[in-house]
């Protein structure tokens, strides 16, 4: 760990962290503002949803969420929050070390007296710090929105905290997998397509897995590992699947260290 690199990374990531935090905050607060309206017309809503085919509802994660309850409605929003969190974490993972190569600054950084391991650790800690900041904003925003808009309806605080904790673990998956892929390919020219691809790809997999419930796609995608519907119904994580996600993140990051230490930094031009 090198504090110079950490500070430099944090500074260069600051704007992005702010933008993502703001996006998540607005999403939760504005969306949850509609809760009263939804809850009051819950019967109508549920009737309308009944008319959609089950697969359709499953694709949007609505098959096991009751929009008339505080957490059911929050869980529905949280799927979109997850999508944001996935893209953010994926971007940070893909760009973590590849950005030095695509912006041709790898020569500068890696000829300094620091080991590759220290470079990677400093960058990881900075990226995780950024993600924690975004999660903090999400926590505060969620509590404020729910307290402000829930009206007379009650909710289970422990379940909400479980959902919120899942956000951070969920991001570790995308950070780790993004980082690993960025080191497996020859050169990452631009981070955004990769980050979007991984985030949306996993989301679509999860949607499909909902539509054809006999297909075991849920093994692959963290959107299923951390399905808010499951957490709300069971008031607990789906332990094996959460372990799977965390395991993939740990293995990806470990492999990334190994690959980065052996990597040939491509010459400029």
């Amino acid at each position: 760990m090198n504090t110079n690199i950490f500070r430099h990374e944090l500074r260069s990531r600051f704007k992005s962290v702010m933008v993502w935090s703001l996006a998540v905050l607005l999403l939760v607060v504005l969306f949850f503002g509609f809760f009263q309206g939804f809850a009051d017309e819950a019967d109508l809503m549920n009737q309308m949803l009944e008319k959609f085919p089950r697969e359709m509802r499953a694709a949007f994660g609505l098959d096991n969420l009751d929009l008339a309850s505080v957490l059911g409605f929050y869980g529905f929003i949280f799927i979109f929050v997850q999508l944001c969190l996935a893209i953010q974490a994926g971007n940070y993972g893909f760009g973590l070390v590849s950005i030095e190569e695509s912006e041709l600054t790898a020569d500068f950084l890696l000829t300094k007296p620091v080991s590759r391991t220290a470079v990677m650790t400093s960058k990881l800690v900075a990226a995780v710090t950024g993600l924690i900041l975004t999660n903090l904003v999400l926590w505060v925003g969620s509590f404020l929105a729910i307290t402000g808009f829930r009206g007379e309806r009650e909710y289970e605080l422990k379940t909400l905290i479980l959902i919120l904790v899942s956000g951070f673990l969920f991001q570790m998956f995308f950070l780790g997998v993004g980082l690993l892929i960025s080191l497996l390919v020859k050169r990452v020219r631009s981070v955004t397509p990769y980050g979007l691809g991984l985030g949306f790809g996993m989301y679509v997999l999860s949607a499909f897995s909902g539509m054809f419930s006999d297909v075991k796609l849920e093994i692959l995608t963290p959107f299923k590992h951390f399905d808010p519907g499951y957490i709300i119904q069971n008031n607990a994580f789906d332990a094996p699947l959460v372990m799977l996600s965390v395991g993939v993140a740990i293995i990806s990051i470990t492999l990334s260290y190994w690959l980065y230490n052996r990597r040939d930094v491509p010459a400029v031009s």
């Binding site: 110079n4 912006e103 500068f108 890696l110 000829t111 620091v114 220290a118 040939d264 010459a267």
Partner: protein, 290 residues
Amino acid sequence: MSIIDVTNLTKYYGKSRGIVDVSFQVEEGEIFGFIGPNGAGKSTTIRLLLSLIHPTSGSARVFDLDVVTQGPEIRRNIGYLPSEVYYYEGMKVIDLLRYSASFFPGDFTKRMHELSEIMELELNRRISDLSYGNKKKVGIVQGLLHSPRLLFLDEPTAGLDPLMQRKFFNLIREENARGVTVFFSSHILGEVQRLCTRVGIIREGRMAEISDIRSLQQNNYKKVRVMAEGLDADLFQIPGVTNIQVEDGSLNFFFKGDINLVLQKIGGMRVEDVTIEEPTLEEIFMHYYE
């Protein structure tokens, strides 16, 4: 102990050749020129010594430390000026230099201002606003800032105007006088000639020759130019003469051997002008490149 000790160093990028079986030593305090055409493997060698890439086989030691396993220790005492300079675009020059210096123990503020003044570098500009030549200056200051014991210069003069080149060479000479060892890679032979004590010539990934710059110039060829009326190239068809060219009443050739043989020939003629000089490295190396 040599500062750099390279033994049978080989690097393949997949199937394509980087360098093959390269061995050489660089001693403390010398300026070692590393010469070769583009694509010969100069940058590959430097990048191996800086642990930016890993050797396929062979070994290299810098300060008697292994480049593969002890890179960070080695780099504490190294300054590197890459052939293409790229820095964090959003940063100001002064912030970049501070960031660079922060990796080394000590306070280099005074040295930073000194060097920037010599190289006429404006510290408050943004990297993204700098011209190529100005970025190169940032590279030079950045490479020298922390007073390294060993300097790697990879085609350092590209993009610098002649005045700046001279200032840069003076800087390098000053550093060298303080005992700094310099590894100077270039395909421009003239500048190596001006600066270096020994040169290694690399060609198609292999070391073609390593020699003292003086012996390279002296023990080899003389460049002879004779101006006279009615010159005939056949007159100088003696052993040791190569590259005879006749143009506008003057005869040019290279000669290797006892110079008296040539002088006797010339002595029997009525000439307008004669020059006998040491060929430039450029001309000598034409033989290696051919």
